[in-house]
Structures are given as C-alpha cells and as structure tokens.
C-alpha cells in the first residue's frame, strides 16, 4: 500500500472525490490513519478517563469527550479523511450559544474600554468597567 498526501485541489485533479467512501475499518485500523495517530506519543493517556491510543486502535472508539482534546493531533487527520468538512456548522446547544454571546459582548466592551481610555473619555470608561465587572460575574455563574 502506498500513502499519498494530497491537498484539496490535487485530489480533485486526480479524481479523488470521495474520501469518505473508504470503509471505516480501513481508516481506523488500516495503515493510513492509525499510523498517523501512532506517530504521536503512543504512551499518552487521557487525563480524564485514562484511555490510550492503543485502546483506540483496538476498538475504534474513544474513551470520553476529553479524548478529542488529548488525541487532537491524530484525530484531525482522521476526521478530515472521514467527513465533508473539519468544522461543525450545525446545531449549537443553548449553553454554548449563551457562552458565545457573553464572550462576544465581553470582546465589544473591552474594545470600547480601550478606545475610551485612549480618547481620555474617563466617564465612559468608568461605566464600561462597571459593565465588564457585571458581565464577568454573569459568565462565572
């Protein structure tokens, strides 16, 4: 078996249109992706659940949600080969949605504060500081 790394454009040129068409077993246990994962520190264990890469090779399943962070490097290659895209564009849980909103508000406030300070607009700056403090406590809950 020969392994070739192709960028998106090249793969299209060579007529590889469907990387997802490969059997899952090939991807998980075959020479390609599994090796890719092994290249990392193979003794690495997930700090949350104690799962190792050897376990993944055996079962083709991960140990817990934190494994996606622990083994991110190898998994990214695998996910890229498996799916249509590399980023989730679908449903957001309410929780994540709220967190994103709060972060967005926080970024805006911080930027405005910097601007107000630069313009020596201290009254606005003080009010912004209060708002940031309130938002911080909201995020903490």
């Amino acid at each position: 078996m020969q392994k070739v790394n192709l960028c998106d454009a090249c793969s299209k040129e060579k007529g590889v249109q469907d990387p997802t068409g490969f059997a899952l077993a090939d991807l998980l246990l075959g020479i390609g992706a599994a090796e890719e994962i092994e290249k990392g520190a193979s003794t690495q264990k997930c700090p949350v659940c104690g799962f190792s890469q050897a376990d993944f090779k055996k079962t083709g399943r991960l140990g817990c949600s934190a494994c996606y962070v622990t083994f991110a490097e190898g998994l990214n290659t695998l996910l890229k080969a498996m799916h249509k895209g590399t980023e989730h564009v679908g449903k957001l849980p309410q929780r994540a949605h709220r967190a994103m909103e709060l972060n967005h508000r926080m970024r805006n406030l911080t930027e405005n504060l910097q601007k107000a300070v630069a313009e020596e607009n201290y009254e606005t700056a003080a009010s912004l500081r209060d708002q940031i403090k309130q938002l911080e406590s909201e995020i903490a809950t």
Partner: protein, 361 residues
C-alpha cells in the same frame, strides 16, 4: 409504520437519530459498570419526564428477555448493539413507538424518531425538540470546532444519522439496483440491508442514510438525502413502468409464482418469505391486488420475522418449527386474498407522491 405517509409505495419509513454524550464522563464502551449505572441513573429520569414520554415504556436491558430484545430489534426500536447490552443500559420509548431513546448504547444517548413514508424533516423536528429539552437539564459534550462529541469519530459534529427504508423491487427486477447503490455511495451516502450496517438486503428493502456528520448543517444533510431519495423513487417508478411495458410476462409470472408459493407452501424461511411478500406488495402497487390488501401484506412483513413469530406463539421454536409456523400464518392471512388480476394492472401506476391514506406519525 405501514402503508402511510408521503411516497408510501416506495418509502416504508423515515428515521432520524441523534447521538449525545455527557461531558467528561467515560463513553459506555469504556466506562466501568459502576460508572455506566451512575450515568444511567442521571439520564433516565430526565428522559422519562419528557412530555413526549408520558405513558412511555421504559426498561433496563437486563430486565428484557432475549426474545423481547429481538422483537425490539425487528421493529427497529433498538439497535442490534443495544440488544447485546446488559446492566447499565436502558431503553425508553413512547406508546406509539415513534420515538425511542437508548441510554448507554455506543453513546450515552441515542434518540431516534421514526415516521411512515418519506418524512425525514418531520422526524428531525421531533428529535431536535427532544434534544433541546434534554440539553437544558444535562450537560452534553460539545466542542466549538467539532460540535457534539461522540464515542466513534464517524458521528462527531451533528451526531445525526438520517435514514429511510426503501422498497425497490422494480430496480432489483430490472437489475439496475447495483448502479443505484454505486451512484449513491459515491456521493457520501450509505446503502444497507434491512437491519443496518453489515446486513443483507432482503425483501428488496434497502436503507439509505448519510455517511458524514461533520461540516454540514442538519437540514442540509436532510435536504440532500431527501433529494437523492426522491430521485431513487422516480427511478423505481420508471423501472416498474418499463417492466410493465416491455417485460409484462416476466412480471406477471413473478407475481403469480409468489402468490402460488405463499398460499400453498408449508415451510418457509424468513428470507424467502420477505422476498415473495415484496413481489406481492409490488402487485398491490401495480393494481394486481385490491388496495385494501396493502395493510395485511405490510403487517406480514413484520409479523413473520423470527422473534415476532416466537412471541406470537408464546414458545421457543427451532428453525424448522418457525419455518412451518411462518408458512401457516401466511396461508391463513392470504386465505381471503383474491387471485392476481392482470387486467387491472395499471400502466401508469399511482406514484404515491401525494400523502397516503392517512398522514400519521
């Protein structure tokens, strides 16, 4: 799940399932027994208190007999994997059997909604609602970049698998089915047999579903899948028309033989029964049998499966006894079935594209 819904002649049922997991808890396949139980105890009450689960059936897997589990598998209410689970796993389903939630299958939660005919959007709507209701009480594993995190990387992102069960005797008889399967798999969709992954196609029934879950929105996946299914439905109707016009003798022969064997045989394996019933069902679609015979045939598809047979006979049967009982049940149900009437075979068969007799869930 019978003879109803849009495109009911070709699409038996539509299903959408979502996979969800609790954050930072070991997935069921890796969790120790005590942790699986603690996760089950956390999730189960939340599921049972859902408005949609009032008056539900909720059972731990270890409380169900092997036969009962098999019946649930044959009704597609639990997966074969889930049927093999024991302590620490459960299933909760509504009375109408249109919503089923597996706890500690491969993922902590597998929620699925089932509807008759081609109704993927409606099926998604319900399961999406369930997901939102549960997410307000349970913290699901979710990553900004990767979306919902699942035990198997093939499900990460939306965690969604949408599928439809299609009855395609026209394409099989005209030997076009392999072309269709190949074309469909080239565009990132999967075609499987009656019971899903790794199972054989029987009764000309095929399951088609999305293969990928990351990088595409839920409704985009469902729209893409629905469009492909609509194309297959068209191809199936075209194939039937061609058979009627160019090979009507072959078609007539097939229907007559199926009718003859089903009404006179005394032993029949489930594969043979499903294949013959499929031809009778085609006969109903084409007008060779009266429309009111549709329901009894659709019911037979379910009732002649091995676990259903044993459940109805209230005893454990070996394969030979099952084949005998299966043939007997079919003979009895077909007693009032008129002989196929070739003169009624419609050239332009109704395509079932409008809503079926009733539009149930």
């Amino acid at each position: 799940m019978r003879g109803e819904g849009p495109h009911y002649q070709v699409v038996i049922s539509s299903r959408v399932r979502l996979a969800r997991n609790l954050r930072n808890r070991a997935f069921p396949g890796w969790a120790k027994k005590a942790e699986r139980i603690s996760i089950l105890d956390l999730i189960r009450p939340r599921v049972e208190e859902l408005t949609e689960m009032q008056d539900s059936f909720s059972e731990s897997l270890q409380e169900l007999s092997a036969l009962e589990r098999q019946v649930l598998v044959e009704r597609h209410l639990i997966s074969r994997e889930h049927a093999a689970k024991g302590v620490g796993s459960a299933v909760v389903m509504n009375r109408r059997q249109t919503l089923s939630i597996m706890i500690n299958e491969e993922d902590h939660l597998r929620m699925q909604s089932i509807r008759s005919g081609l109704q993927l959007k409606q099926a998604f709507k319900l399961v999406d609602k369930i997901d939102s209701a549960l997410e307000s009480k349970l913290e699901f594993a979710y990553d900004q970049r990767l979306g919902y995190l699942t035990a198997c990387p093939t499900n990460v992102g939306t965690g969604m698998r949408a599928s439809a069960m299609l009855h395609l005797p026209g394409l099989v008889l005209s030997e076009l089915i392999n072309q269709v399967i190949q074309a469909v798999s080239k565009i990132g969709l999967a075609v499987r047999g009656l019971y899903g992954e790794g199972t054989e196609a029987m009764g000309n029934l095929f399951q088609i579903s999305n293969q990928t879950t990351l990088g595409e929105k839920e409704d985009e996946i469902i729209n893409r899948l629905s469009k492909v299914i609509e194309t297959i439905i068209e191809k199936e109707h075209d194939a039937r028309q061609v058979l009627l016009q160019k090979k009507s003798n072959t078609l007539w022969d097939q229907i007559g033989r199926a009718y003859g064997v089903l009404t006179y045989a005394h032993a029949m394996a489930s594969k043979e029964a499903l294949n013959l019933l499929s031809i009778i069902k085609l006969g109903v679609d084409l007008g060779a049998f009266p429309e009111d015979r549709r329901l009894p045939i659709d019911e037979l598809f379910i009732d002649i499966q091995p676990a259903h047979l044993q459940k109805s006979s209230q005893q454990k049967l070996n394969a030979e006894e099952r084949d005998h009982l299966r043939a007997q049940i079919i003979r009895e149900r077909l007693k009032l079935f008129p002989k196929p009437d070739i003169s009624k075979m419609a050239r332009e068969s109704g395509d079932g594209s409008t809503a079926g007799p009733s539009n149930n869930e």
